[in-house]
């Protein structure tokens, strides 16, 4: 009966209740949409880094990541690659020779990370092949073709078929150089990556550096379902053995993981700020409710409604008021966010700034159901907190005095 009374009490002053319900709904809608937007943005960034730069899992010889020593390679990379390919859920595997080097054009030079890849294998792991904006992915050049980033091409003033020289240290610690021609120019949304990464064929780099055939510094693994990452990682570790370092994307690029965690934290802070602003509106409404009903509350006390029940009635009213607005906001926010999962928000007007940081100009929202549960709980908490002072005021009423009010 208390629930029923509280619910009906809300609608005694429809306009006032609707104003507060709409305020809460608007606030929560904004919160849900902003959460989905920023989560989508962060997830897109992470997915992009996984797809174009690092893949889900990488294997190195233990210690290579610290030293980048060319001699710290995986000797049996080719066999390992085959074994990993047989693991359920693995969508693609690619082995790479990875060397810090200098790329020089006729005009200038730049430090780059050169990756010797098997172009077909690499397609199954990263999406560089889909990011070609000029030329073709290892096509059109027979000898020593290279795929370089747009930013590097601009820096070194290179065009398709332009020749440039790569200088590296070979396996015997000798400095050696090779001439490559630009077959394709790629552009990801990360200018820093585009400026620093050059892709050449595995065989060309292997010959240039006297690298043992079948060996590699890095094995990159792509998976078909990211939910299976922990299980596949375990299986890969088992196949790779103790001497190899197997790391997932979160370990390879910890800042990406921090990005998700920081984004979640910011979102909670954002929602809490919205709710704090709404809190005062709800307190104000509940104070008006209590003051208008002083006589009625006095009567309830007189006929035997105890303080706990009166307190509960006021808290319930406040929670119902907040929750009604909250649910409306969550539903509209969820529908809008769901729509945004297939219809991206166009930020192309500010694309240059975003792309500099590696973010997409088109953001697909990402609705997190667990966040909706948290928001619902926070709205309930707001309702409870908003009711405490008004309920305290109500309980301080003396029934005899309250009943004298005309």
């Amino acid at each position: 009966m208390l629930l029923s009374i509280s619910w009906r009490n809300i609608w005694r002053n429809k306009v006032r209740s609707m104003v507060i319900i709409l305020s809460v709904a608007m606030g929560i809608f904004a919160g849900v949409l902003a959460t989905a937007f920023f989560k989508g943005m962060a997830d897109q960034r992470i997915q992009k880094v996984i797809n174009t730069e690092i893949s889900y899992i990488q294997i190195h010889k233990a210690g290579f990541e610290e030293t980048n020593d060319i001699t710290d390679y995986i000797p049996n990379a080719a066999e390992l690659l085959k074994s990993i390919n047989n693991i359920d859920g693995v969508a693609g595997v690619s082995k790479r020779i990875v060397i810090q080097s200098m790329a020089a054009s006729a005009e200038t030079a730049s430090g780059v990370l050169i990756s010797g890849i098997n172009p077909e294998q690499e397609k199954s792991v990263t999406s560089i092949s889909n990011k070609i904006v000029d030329g073709a992915y290892f096509k059109g050049i027979k000898r020593n073709p290279a795929v370089i980033g747009k930013k590097l091409a601009e820096k070194l003033n290179l065009r398709i078929r332009s020749k440039f020289v790569i200088t590296v240290q070979d396996l015997q610690n000798n400095i050696t150089s090779g001439a490559f021609r630009v077959a394709g120019i790629y552009s990801t949304d990360n200018n820093m990556f585009d400026e620093a990464n050059v892709f050449v064929r595995y065989s060309d780099l292997q010959k240039l550096t006297n690298f043992p055939v079948g060996g590699a510094h890095e094995i990159a693994i792509n998976i078909s379902n990211k939910e299976e990452l922990p299980a596949i990682t375990q299986a890969v570790k088992k196949v790779a053995g103790d001497k190899m370092s197997v790391k997932i994307w979160k370990e390879l690029r910890p800042e990406m993981n921090y990005l998700t965690e920081a984004m979640d934290l910011y979102m909670y802070i954002f929602i809490v700020i919205i709710l704090l602003a709404l809190l005062f509106g709800i307190i104000n409404t509940m104070l008006m409710v209590v003051m208008e009903r002083t006589k009625e509350i006095g009567m309830l006390m007189a006929i035997g409604m105890n303080k706990a029940k009166i307190f509960s009635m006021i808290v319930l009213e406040s929670v119902m008021l907040s929750l009604t607005g909250g649910i409306v906001g969550i539903v509209i926010g969820a529908i809008t966010s769901k729509y945004g999962e297939t219809h991206p928000i166009d930020l192309s007007a500010w694309a240059q700034g975003y792309q500099q940081l590696g973010y997409d100009a088109f953001v697909y929202t990402q609705l997190d159901p667990s966040m909706l549960v948290d928001i619902t709980l926070l709205v309930i908490l707001t309702g409870v907190i908003a009711a405490i002072y008004p309920a305290y005021k109500a309980l301080r009423n003396d029934p005899a005095d309250a009943l004298r009010i005309e």
Partner: protein, 230 residues
Amino acid sequence: MNVIEIKGLTKIYKTSEVIVKAVNGIDINFEEGEFTAIVGPSGSGKTTFLNMLGGLDKPTSGKVIISGIDVWKLSSRQLIDFRMNNIGFVFQSYNLIPVLTAGENVEFIMHLQGKPKKEREKRTKDLLEAVGIGNRINARPSKLSGGQQQRVAVARALASKPEFILADEPTANLDSKATNSLLELMSQMNKKYNTTFIFATHDQRVMDKAHRIVTIEDGKILSDEYFERD
């Protein structure tokens, strides 16, 4: 048998400038089944007396003993429960819960008492029929006339099966037809359930029905008379 024993009941209001003795050492007893009117001019202390009797207003001194319990020695929590189970209230301005129907208003107090749903529903129906508005069980107070609302208030006061009912100016807002009808009803309820009714009033029609009239002036009992009625 005395239902209520009052000894030396006093209420003093103090402000920075004056001290007002609203009720000044009243000693009086009420027996089971009485139909009593407390009368007196405005400001004579009727309502204050009734509020102290009903456990709403704490006396400055004196005792209110109801069925052997010294009411003002109870804790505030015990007092609320005591009021719920022993005292029925009928107020001048009806004071029904506007968002509840007539039936729900009557049922509400039994809900507070923790009575089972079936019992609540049956008693609500019986009481509303007894007060003559069984057909308005689903009407909200705003859809009822003043007289009908006061009948609901009487049914609500009776719902908890109290020892006695305190009615503060119950007819003040009613026209004469509704007043007569309500008084007739309360008189019937008094006879039917042997419930003690104590009114604070200055309505002659109420006094004409009362079996006992206690006149208060300046916080003291001026007279205490008994009458034979039909």
